[in-house]
Symmetry: C3
């Protein structure tokens, strides 16, 4: 099997879409592909730590956006049948019954497999998210960096 | 015209997005491209038969998801202006007036043109959908199969 | 740097998704890529003039869709945290504070950089939108035209 590269822009922050992104990314990495996941806008919420992190220098609006958005993979809603958060919980329960990896496990596996996580710095400014609020050890870059990776990849998805 | 390959992941189950997927897929097939449509999560609903199909061995949660999700292309909602199902009906009416193919016709045409339909087996487990509930004669596979097809394609979309 | 081509299908009409599309498109154009943006379904609303344009020959249903959909980039809603239109306004304010280009500026820049704007004629019929309602000087085509561009591009996104 040849190595090739893949990029996935994770724009959406819904549980099911983020799941799909990580399933594809992990599948490709398991086939020895180099994968870059570029997290932007609502997708950044999947990278948030689940505890409140003290930050300084946020504007009131940035604080507001930060407070209203979900903190980490366990807090994401479904794009359909969300039922005020009950939907993801039910879906997670089915997943456990069916021995499907949880989103947290998928994220851990992605990191173990060396998938590159990039957080979009411009979106972080807009959403009011700081580095200390996101998973440790990820990269930070802008659209130019994404485009360089995408140019060298044979599959590029926007999720 | 050269033959090339295309893949489309149909993740979304909204009427308008599924329409877009089939319009692109049929357009490519008409230009002699080999097209694979990979149905996953809510996109699987576009492949459901419109009648109730008796199944055995579903867990209560799987039954619940199955019961709440739309059965087939005529039951899908719009991503905008849905108005509890009135939106798709109105859009279908405009389509008929404008001589645009209906979604059912697009699906039939896709099959006649030899477009490969693949249902994602992992999503089927999560959503609680069984083979007998989906269109006959389609293929069943997982993400690895998608990735093999995507690697050989020059256009890969996630819808 | 080599020139390569990119296509972006702008299907979604939400402020944040349209922003993302233009940020990627402008980034690629700044790297000397040839970029085609293909506007279809709700994405067409990003190209609407913000004033009411008199049109003739629309069916009542087309008039209705036209009246209910947002006119231009300043009227688009957010895909999350929309709060009946307050969300986009707040996000625009943060963007101004962070010196991020507004959507209107991004669209202007895209045109200055020679990005090709194509409006999907089939969707225009379905949504009841006429050429005189959309930005001047854009192109009009169907899915076949998109596919020709996509075949020659190394990055093709559906947003």
């Amino acid at each position: 099997m040849e190595t090739s590269r893949k990029t996935i822009i994770v724009f959406s922050g819904e549980f099911d879409k983020v799941m799909a992104a990580f399933i594809i990314a992990n599948g490709a990495a398991a086939m020895d592909d180099e994968v870059t996941m570029f997290f932007t806008f609502w997708g950044l919420n999947a990278l948030r730590k689940d505890t409140h992190v003290k930050t300084t220098g946020k504007t009131p609006l940035q604080k507001m956006f930060g407070a209203m958005m979900p903190r980490g993979p366990k807090k994401l809603g479904l794009s359909n049948l969300n039922f005020a958060g009950a939907g993801p919980k039910l879906m997670m329960r089915v997943m456990r019954q069916q021995n499907v990896m949880t989103l947290t496990e998928l994220i851990d596996t992605a990191r173990e497999q060396g998938i590159k996580f990039v957080a979009c710095t411009m979106s972080m400014d807009v959403m009011g998210l700081r580095k200390e609020e996101l998973l440790d050890g990820i990269e930070y870059a802008g659209v130019a960096s994404y485009l360089v990776d995408a140019d060298e990849s044979n599959v590029n998805l926007f999720i």
